[in-house]
Amino acid sequence: MRHGNKPTRRRAKRILALLFCYVTVAGAVTPRSPLSSTNIFAPASTPAKTIFDLSIFVLAVTLVIFVVVSSLLAYSAVKFRGRAADAGREPPQVYGSTQIELAWTVIPVLIVAVLFVATARVIHAIEDAPKPGQTLDVTVIGHQFWWEFRYPKLGIVTANELHIPASDPAHPTPTFLKLLSADTDHSFWVPELAGKTDLIPNRVNQMWLDPPRPGIYAGQCAQYCGTQHAKMLLRVSVDRPADFAAWVIAQQQAAAQDAREIAGKRVFETTACINCHAVSGTAASGRFGPDLTHLMSRATLASGAAENTPASLRLWIQNPDAIKPGSLMPAMKLSDADLDVVTAYLETLR
């Protein structure tokens, strides 16, 4: 391009502007912050914090009991050890003491009463919390061995990486999760956000989250659900409200249509892929496996079992057992050529 040419400069500016928008939006919605820890003592949401406060109280009480009783145990073992000089003589044969036994019955009863009252208050605070007006409703469906997320009011279906808006404590916008299961028992556990709640087939459970700080919170399935229970990982991306809105808009779009990848799309649509997977705006509407409409918006594949890279994606389609042995995705037995074009097609599904 020759410098100084007006149409060229205008085109260049347009390209730069587009690039800038893309980078900003992509940078905003693509999680780049590191994964949180899974420490139950690092609460980042009200349910987790309430539990944390109670747990500190319980720990303090049990610590006191431990110190008192173990000291008495150690003391009695040391003070009343038999010495050689005592050989043959028996100590006074004491059978019991009503006062002492009464005391050490009453005190534990009181301790239990206090612990119970403290606990009952937290149970009600979390379980019977009235649902505020402004909430985001997400339906979580557990599968062997992945997570389905549906946002019924927003018309979004996605998998494995949950996006929710951060909730400002001054104007809370919590997320209420409805928990269902398509097959066996599972359990939704993101320790820094809340205690775990199980997903049980034929049962509707619910829980809520209101993390104030954006970030990516890690978790995983916490109820043994079969062979790959260990790799049913969870990511909850807590987004700033503007970022969350941008993510919603992106997710609501039908699948990107990239003319260069027609060959791959044809392979996808004419092999068994569409029996299990859905790509909105195409013939694929299977619900057995994860929705792939915006597959490239996720950081991982196979519910956290692999990074979302072209190489991993290709391997996953070719031989899932190499990444997650026992998962329900079958090896597709595609030729190398078909594998290449299908992978390239899926790489366009942003």
Partner: protein, 557 residues
């Protein structure tokens, strides 16, 4: 009172062939021999389930390890748990009960000797059937092998849709069969204790071991039957078109949970009560004082028996019960800690003012007291349901229950072995090797199970064959694994002690520990008929009365 064996001089007996000896053991109805059979059976399965634990620990040594496949790992933890509960803990405790209860109450055998033998063999066959699954578990589609559904076998994972093949059927049928054995033994113990006590031994004069086994047996009758019922229902689901637990056809997953845990929670109290029994007999003897507060110890036991039936859904705090249900099970689970805690105080009260002898049985009892205290306190934490919403199904729970079962029950069992081995065999276990066993096992135990609480707090769920490196659980798991191998070494030391002492141990007389209950009044090992003439007792410590005629217990009771 004359309970000495009548010695017959110059008795001539033909040496027996090994087939005759084998035949005698296989057809025995003698409670002492059946006790030994139970104990030896349990020890063999302890070694097998211990190897399964080591396989688990090697796989979890670091993140993304592939020592075993996920399928094999899932079988390992299922078999480890199932074996340890049903084919190690229950048989060994029934074995000790079988041997000791008739002797301690002055009886010649159990009430139903043939039922006794039948119950043992049912249990034994159950264990063999469970392990046959490794060979015979293949079913349709090549699926199946040993069961891999966890020792709770939760529905609907056990439905045909999710467990094709026969692996989970081996779990179901093996436990169903051995469950009948448990019920048979429980009936026997109850009938023996209620009907065959010697003259003078009213209920308030029974040794605490007898009381604890009485309550334990009552609990077995109530707790095992729901599990058997659930297993039958599961078989109907899998083979006769039933849908009790088949959620795909409207069945209920939580129904299985209720059935299982109303067995499962009393079950762990069934396991701990005999451990309390051992400690309640051994601590007084090595403190040289009677048990502190016998009546309250009995009362607390009965209270535990009842209240433990009301806590089961604390295993289900995360299934989404309403706040009232969660609160109810919180209060009952905390309440059951009260009589249990009181027992700890009474044992310390027994030591208080005594002249403690630190022989190996007492060392293991001290370990028990310290560890059971901690286990009870982590139990209180788990009883607080919101705290449990974080801790449930994590390695914190695994650490807690191993603290109870290994740190509590197994330590008490080791104490019992060192204490009663002389009575069973006529030889003392080697004291120095015993102390080596104790210290080695103590170090290994604490290295493993103290540290294991931490990954739970850091979010590590249980029943996972591997974990992510980014979680920060690697070093902790490595330490846990090292401790496991130290414990394995200690168990080998123990087994060597058992074997070597049988031939080379110092001869034990009738009463090597200067103890006070009736089993120490007969020879070691006791004659087949136990007592030449049935004793009569006047107090809780009949041998104390004999040895201290100037200050007998009977004057104070």
């Amino acid at each position: 009172m004359s309970s000495n064996a009548i010695a017959i001089e110059n008795l001539q007996r033909e040496p027996q062939t090994w087939t005759e000896i084998l035949h005698q053991w296989v057809t025995t109805v003698d409670h002492k021999r059946l006790g030994i059979l139970y104990i030896l059976y349990a020890l063999s399965y302890l070694l097998i389930a211990g190897i399964e634990a080591l396989i688990i620990r090697i796989q979890l040594m670091h993140s993304h390890n592939n020592f075993v496949s996920p399928q094999a790992f899932n079988r390992m933890f299922t078999m480890h748990g199932t074996t340890m509960i049903f084919f190690v803990a229950m048989p060994v405790l029934f074995g000790f009960a079988n041997y000791l209860v008739p002797l301690m109450i002055g009886a010649r055998d159990m009430a139903f000797p043939r039922l006794n033998a039948f119950s043992f063999w049912l249990t034994a066959i159950g264990g063999l059937l469970l392990y046959f699954s490794f060979l015979g578990g293949s079913g349709l589609y090549g699926a199946g092998n040993a069961p891999d559904v966890g020792w709770w076998s939760y529905a609907p994972l056990t439905a045909k849709a999710f467990s094709p093949g026969h692996s989970s059927d081996y779990w179901t049928v093996a436990l169903l069969v051995s469950g009948f054995g448990s019920v048979g033994t429980a009936i026997n113990i109850l009938a023996t204790i209620l009907c065959m006590r010697c003259p003078g031994m009213h209920l308030g004069r029974m040794p605490l071991l007898v009381w604890l086994n009485l309550v334990m047996s009552g609990m077995v009758l109530i707790a095992v039957t729901p599990l058997t019922a659930a297993q039958v229902m599961l078989l109907i689901d899998r083979y006769l078109g039933g849908h009790f637990f088949d959620t795909q056809a409207g069945g209920s997953a939580t129904l299985w949970m209720h059935f299982f845990w109303i067995f499962g929670h009393p079950e762990v109290y069934i396991l701990i009560l005999p451990a309390f029994a051992f400690v309640s007999e051994i601590v007084p003897v090595f403190s040289r004082k009677p048990i502190f507060g016998y009546p309250v110890m009995v009362g607390a036991t009965i209270f535990i028996g009842f209240v433990s039936m009301s806590v089961w859904a604390h295993h289900m705090f995360t299934i989404g019960m309403n706040s009232y249900a969660n609160s109810f099970f919180t209060i009952t689970s905390m309440a059951v800690g009260i009589p249990t805690g009181i027992k700890i105080f009474n044992w310390i009260g027994t030591m208080w003012g005594g002249r403690i002898q630190f022989k190996t049985p007492m060392l293991f009892c001290l370990g028990f007291l310290f560890q059971f205290l901690i286990a009870g306190l982590t139990g209180i934490m788990l009883a607080s349901s919101p705290f449990d919403w974080q801790l449930s199904n994590s390695y914190f729970v695994v650490a807690h229950f191993h603290y109870v079962i290994v740190g509590g029950i197994l330590f008490a069992l080791f104490a019992a072995f060192y204490y009663w081995y002389p009575k069973f065999t006529g030889r003392m276990l080697n004291e120095r090797i015993g102390k080596l066993h104790f210290w080695l096992f103590l170090i290994g135990f604490h290295l493993t199970f103290d540290v294991m609480h931490i990954p739970g707090i850091l979010g590590m769920p249980r029943r996972i064959y591997t974990y992510e490196p980014a979680r920060g659980w690697d070093t902790l798991n490595l330490i846990v694994t090292i401790g496991a191998f130290i414990q394995a070494l200690a168990i080998l030391v123990f087994v060597c002690n058992l074997i070597v002492s049988y031939w080379r141990g110092a001869r034990a007389g009738k009463d090597p520990w200067d103890a006070w209950t009736l089993e120490w009044s007969v020879s070691s090992p006791p004659p087949a008929y136990n007592f030449a003439s049935i004793p009569a007792v006047a107090s809780r410590r009949p041998l104390w009365d004999l040895k201290h005629p100037e200050d007998p217990d009977s004057r104070y009771e």
